[in-house]
């Protein structure tokens, strides 16, 4: 283990508004290296907005945002950051690309202009596909896979550039419970074995808290940031952030099997 973890994401007093009403206000959040942080919050609480700010896709009206110690708009080493968006698997299902081609895209930013995939890059793609256990599907058209399989492929695409930080926005939406659990196990393995720092937005609070190390609760700003255990044992938080409801549904599913 590392002696002292460094801060990878640093958000200070962030305010963001699409219209005149702020969606995020005076928000503070740090993500330490090696953490597996689950970000929870009700629908419309600004989770995706926060993620987009962190990625520099949208520009906040106020506040400071750093990635790996440099300000987001100056940060340029994007191969260190993997991202799977909320809408990621809603691409045009008929898109005529193979699983291999989709994962290759993860290397394009690193390759830059006038450079093409070499053998070494192709090996990286196959390695990433192996990590998510999808190497057997390399030549399949992406549109022919199930939702869970597509999600794995998109994780592989985010992993192929060997990032330090992986950000996932509701990756288990539309995936059955069993696949979702396998998916979380994969994330835990990446976090524990490869030291990958993970920021995971999830609705599925009951299941998610069993895998993450830390939980942050968001509603316009961060209301709680602590260990998964602290979150689970705090009755106020559990009811506020839908833990109980999700938990019951989850248990129910277990019984139904």
């Amino acid at each position: 283990m590392m002696a002292k973890a460094s801060t990878i994401v640093e958000v200070n007093n962030l305010t963001y508004q699409y219209t005149d009403r702020p969606v995020l206000q005076n928000l503070n959040l740090n993500v330490e290296e090696g953490a597996f942080l689950g970000l929870v919050g009700p629908n419309g609480s600004g989770k995706s907005t926060l993620i987009k700010c962190i990625l520099g896709l949208i520009k906040p009206q106020a506040g400071k945002l750093s990635l790996f110690g440099s300000e987001v708009h100056r940060f340029d080493d994007w191969s260190k950051v993997g991202y799977v968006s909320q809408r990621a698997n809603r691409f045009n299902a008929g898109f005529p690309a193979t699983v291999f081609e989709v994962v290759s895209m993860g290397l394009f930013g690193q390759l830059g202009l006038f450079r093409f995939m070499k053998r070494n890059d192709r090996d990286k793609v196959m390695q990433a596909l192996k990590t998510v256990e999808m190497d057997a599907y390399a030549k399949q058209p992406i549109g022919k896979l199930s939702g869970g399989q597509q999600q794995r492929v998109l994780i592989a695409r985010a992993l192929v550039s060997n990032p330090t930080l992986l950000i996932l926005d509701e990756p288990t939406v539309g995936i059955d419970a069993t696949s979702a659990r396998r998916f979380y196990e994969l994330l835990r393995k990446l976090n524990q074995d490869q030291g990958l720092t993970l920021l995971l937005v999830s609705h599925d609070v009951g299941t998610m808290t069993k895998y993450v190390t830390n939980v942050a609760c968001l509603n316009k700003s961060i209301h709680f940031h602590g260990t998964a255990h602290e979150f689970e044992t705090n009755p106020n938080l559990s009811s506020l952030y839908g833990y109980d409801v999700q938990h019951i549904i989850h248990e129910h599913e277990e019984i139904a099997k």
């Binding site: 994007w78 990621a88 291999f100 081609e101 895209m105 394009f108 058209p141």
Partner: protein, 286 residues
Amino acid sequence: MIDVFFQYDFLRNALIAGVLIGLIAPMLGVFLVVKRMSLVADALSHITLTGIAFHLLLANFFAIFSLYDPIYMGMVFAVIGSLFINQLRTVYGHFKELAIPIILSAGVGLAVIFISLADGFNTDLYSYLFGSVAAVGNNDLMTIIIIAAIVLVLLFVFYKEWFFLSFDEEQAAISGLKGKWLELLFSILVALVIAASIRIVGILLVSALMTLPVASAMQWAKSFKQMFVYAAIFGQISVLSGIFLGFHLDLAPGGVIVVFAVIILLLSLLKNKIVKVSMNRNVQNR
């Protein structure tokens, strides 16, 4: 039958031009189709007509314009139109396709005015609308060769970037790809290819050459790379048939090209249907 094409300069020109546009139009069309922008080709071809009509009008008043090929004015208009479409697509974020009817009708409206001011239709205009085997002069050919070279080089250089952008704009932006700039370059190329293809295919049918071979390619390709190979092959078959039959039967080549492209598409669909049915049989026989 083929040697006649090398006896006459104009036929040789048409043949070389045909091979080139039969290559670049469908290849660029692959990106247009997967971005769900096939109709952009239609809008831009009509804007090209506006440019050509504007040139013909100017030529009535200023003799100097008669020295130049109207296609250059067409290209200028097409490029400006493509910039407008790009802009309108951002303005109407959720109704991106609105940009197409806006540009298309504005283009046709202006073209009609220019044409009536320039004393109406003449045979020249007819050949722009439907294409012509005899229309490719030496200057035209040079322009087409230059455009084809530019397109092929840029397709090779920006293949990864355009591929990523058409699949997933947001993710591409995070990877550090300069989306806006690449989008713009792509639109300009589409405008140039359309203007270059018009001599042979004609304004009304040029978008078909960019989309029909791609639609057929989708039935065969097993990867995104293969899309380009199939689209180019089907484009070649259509264009060459169009030029040969167009010349021998004295038909407008644009029409023959499109009819062949449609036949290829029908055969491709049929082939996939047969494959599916036989696969189902195999499953049932087990």
